[in-house]
C-alpha cells in the first residue's frame, strides 16, 4: 500500500516537473521522437527485407549448364561434387533430352523446330538446378561450381540479387549508425533535462533528506520523469507506424514492384513494432535519468 502511495506521488511529481521545465523537456521529447521514427522505419524496412529475401530464397536457384560432350559418368561425378558443397541445399538434374521434351510440350513452334533434332545435334545442354541454404553466399557458391570440370556456364541472376543485398546491407549500416548517434544525443539531452529538475528542486531534496526520506523515495520521481519523456517521445513514432504503414500497405496492395516483393501484413506487425519503439523510448529515458540521478543527486 505504502509502496503504491509513494509511486503515485512520484508519478505526480514527475509529470509536474516535465511541464515545469517544458522547453527542455520538449527538446528531449523531440529528440526521442526523431530517434524513434528512424528506429521504427529501420525496423520496418529490415523486417520487410528479411521477409522477402526469405521469399526470394525459396525461388532462387543456381542453374548450371554442362559442356555438350559430358558423359553420364561425368554427370554423376559432378553431382557428387555439388552435393559436397556446404551451401547446397538440394539439386535436380535435367538432361538435354528431357529439356527438349519439356520445351516441345510447352509450345507448338518449339515442337515443330525441335522435332527434327536428334540427340547428337541437340544444341541444348544438360543442366543442374541448385537451391542454396544462404542466399547471401550465393555468389561464392556459384564461383565454386564454376571451377568444377565440364561446367560451362553458371547463372543465378547475379546482377539483381547482388545489388539488392549490397544495397540493403549498406542501408542497414547507415541506419544503425544514425540510430546510435541519435540515441547518444537523446540520452545527453535527457541527462540535462533531469539535471535541471534536480537543481530546481535542490532545496526540496535537501529537506527530504533531512526529514528521513529514503534514497528510493528521492530518486524515483526523477527516474520516472525520464521514463515519461521516453513515453511522450514515442507517441508520434507509434502513430506514424500504425497509420503510415497501413496506408502504405493499402496503397501498394501488399506488393512492391510486381509480385516479387511481398510486404508484411500490418496486423499484428505494427503492434509489435509499436511495442518495440515504446520499450526503446522508455529504456533510453531511464538510462538518461538514472545517469543524471547518479551524477547530480548524491545519494
Amino acid at each position: 500500500m505504502k509502496f503504491f502511495r509513494m509511486l503515485g506521488r512520484s508519478i505526480r511529481d514527475a509529470f509536474k516537473s516535465v511541464f515545469r521545465n517544458f522547453s527542455l523537456s520538449l527538446a528531449s521529447i523531440s529528440c526521442i521522437t526523431i530517434t524513434l521514427i528512424i528506429v521504427a522505419i529501420s525496423i520496418l524496412i529490415t523486417f520487410n527485407v528479411q521477409n522477402f529475401t526469405k521469399e526470394m530464397e525459396k525461388d532462387l536457384t543456381i542453374v548450371i549448364f554442362l559442356d555438350s560432350n559430358t558423359t553420364e559418368e561425368e554427370v554423376q561425378d559432378i553431382k557428387n561434387k555439388l552435393e559436397k558443397i556446404n551451401n547446397v541445399e538440394s539439386l535436380t538434374y535435367q538432361s538435354k533430352t528431357a529439356i527438349k521434351e519439356e520445351m516441345r510440350k510447352e509450345s507448338d513452334i518449339f515442337n515443330e523446330v525441335m522435332s527434327s533434332w536428334s540427340d547428337e545435334d541437340n544444341p541444348l545442354k544438360d543442366t543442374f538446378q541448385v537451391k542454396v541454404k544462404e542466399v547471401e553466399k550465393i555468389k561464392s557458391t556459384a564461383e565454386k561450381i564454376k571451377r568444377i570440370d565440364k561446367v560451362s556456364t553458371v547463372k543465378y541472376g547475379e546482377g539483381m540479387v547482388d545489388n539488392l543485398i549490397v544495397a540493403f546491407e549498406a542501408a542497414k549500416k547507415v541506419s544503425y549508425g544514425m540510430v546510435i548517434a541519435l540515441i547518444l544525443v537523446t540520452v545527453f539531452l535527457i541527462i540535462n533535462t533531469i539535471k535541471l529538475t534536480i537543481f530546481s528542486r535542490k532545496r526540496e531534496i535537501s529537506i527530504m533528506r533531512l526529514v528521513g526520506a529514503s534514497n528510493f523515495t528521492i530518486k524515483t520521481p526523477f527516474i520516472i520523469e525520464g521514463m515519461i519523456l521516453g513515453i511522450l517521445g514515442s507517441i508520434i513514432p507509434i502513430l506514424i507506424i500504425c497509420f503510415g504503414y497501413v496506408a502504405l500497405y493499402d496503397y501498394f496492395d501488399g506488393y512492391l514492384y510486381s509480385q516479387m516483393i511481398v510486404l508484411i501484413k500490418p496486423e499484428p506487425f505494427i503492434y509489435m513494432i509499436s511495442g518495440i519503439v515504446l520499450v526503446i523510448g522508455i529504456i533510453v529515458g531511464m538510462i538518461g535519468s538514472s545517469t543524471a540521478v547518479r551524477k547530480y543527486l548524491k545519494v
Partner: protein
C-alpha cells in the same frame, strides 16, 4: 539511559581545519541541553556529526542506538527518522503553505492522508500556529516561520531534536517564545533537545544542561547552569 553517546571524537575538515578535538560526552534521554561557545568553537560541527551531515574523523558516536560514524550513506535516512532538525534559516519551502510544509515530512515518509492530517494539526497546535495553516511562509513573521520549522521537525514524533541556533535571526522576545515552545515539547513529549546557541540571556534564564565548547574542545558540561565563557 544515554540517548547520545560521543566518545573520543575528532573532526578535521578536508581543508585541514580541526573543528573538534577529542570530544567525549553523554546526553540522557529527556534532557534539554544548550550547546554554547564562541563563534567557530565547533557547535555546528558537533550538531552536524550527530545527524550525519559530517562524519567524525575518528571516535564513536551513538545516537538512539545507531552507530552514526559507521552508518552507510544509504542508511542515513534511518537515523534522520529518529531526529527532528531545526536551523537558523528555517528552510521552509516557499511555494507550500504552512500545512503543506509540515505535511511534507509525512509525505516523504509515505504516511497515509488521514494520519498525516491528524499529526500535522497536532504539531501546529503545539507550536501555536493552528490559525495560520493556509498561509505561505512569506506571509509569516520570522518567529512564526521558525515555529513552522519546529512543527515540521516534530510531526513525526522524533526522539531527539537538534536545533542549530534556532533563534539566531529573531529578536529577544520571539527568541524566548521559540525556546518556550521547545521546552513545552521537551516536557509534554519527552523529546530530548539539543540546542546550539550563543544567546546568553536565554541560557541564563532557562538554567538547563549546558555544554560549553571552546576552540573545538569541551570545557564544561553542567547538569544545570547559565552562560559562561
Amino acid at each position: 539511559m544515554d540517548l547520545i553517546r560521543v566518545k573520543n571524537v575528532n573532526k578535521q575538515y578536508k581543508n585541514g581545519v580541526t573543528a573538534i578535538y577529542d570530544l567525549t560526552l553523554n546526553i540522557k534521554k529527556g534532557s534539554f541541553a544548550f550547546v554554547i561557545g564562541g563563534s567557530g568553537s565547533g557547535k555546528s560541527t558537533f550538531i552536524k556529526m550527530l545527524y550525519r551531515e559530517e562524519k567524525p574523523t575518528s571516535g564513536e558516536i551513538i545516537v538512539g542506538g545507531i552507530n552514526v560514524a559507521k552508518l552507510r550513506n544509504n542508511k542515513v535516512y534511518k537515523l534522520r527518522r529518529k531526529l527532528g532538525i531545526v536551523f537558523q534559516d528555517y528552510r521552509l519551502l516557499p511555494k507550500l503553505t504552512v500545512y503543506e510544509n509540515v505535511a511534507f515530512t509525512m509525505e516523504a515518509l509515505g504516511a497515509k492522508k488521514q494520519e498525516t492530517r491528524k499529526k500535522v494539526l497536532r504539531a501546529l497546535e503545539l507550536v501555536g500556529l493552528k490559525s495560520k495553516i493556509h498561509n505561505y511562509p512569506d506571509q509569516l513573521s520570522g518567529g512564526e516561520q521558525q515555529r513552522v520549522a519546529i512543527a515540521r521537525a516534530i510531526v513525526n514524533e522524533p526522539k531527539i531534536m537538534l536545533c542549530d541556533e534556532p533563534t539566531g535571526n529573531l529578536d529577544p522576545e520571539r527568541s524566548m517564545e521559540i525556546v518556550k515552545v521547545l521546552e513545552e515539547i521537551n516536557k509534554t513529549c519527552g523529546t530530548t533537545i539539543l540546542m546550539a546557541t550563543h544567546d546568553k540571556e536565554i541560557v541564563n534564564k532557562m538554567q538547563k544542561e549546558v555544554i560549553l565548547l571552546k576552540d573545538g574542545r569541551l570545557i564544561k558540561h553542567l547538569e544545570k547552569g547559565g552562560y559562561e565563557e
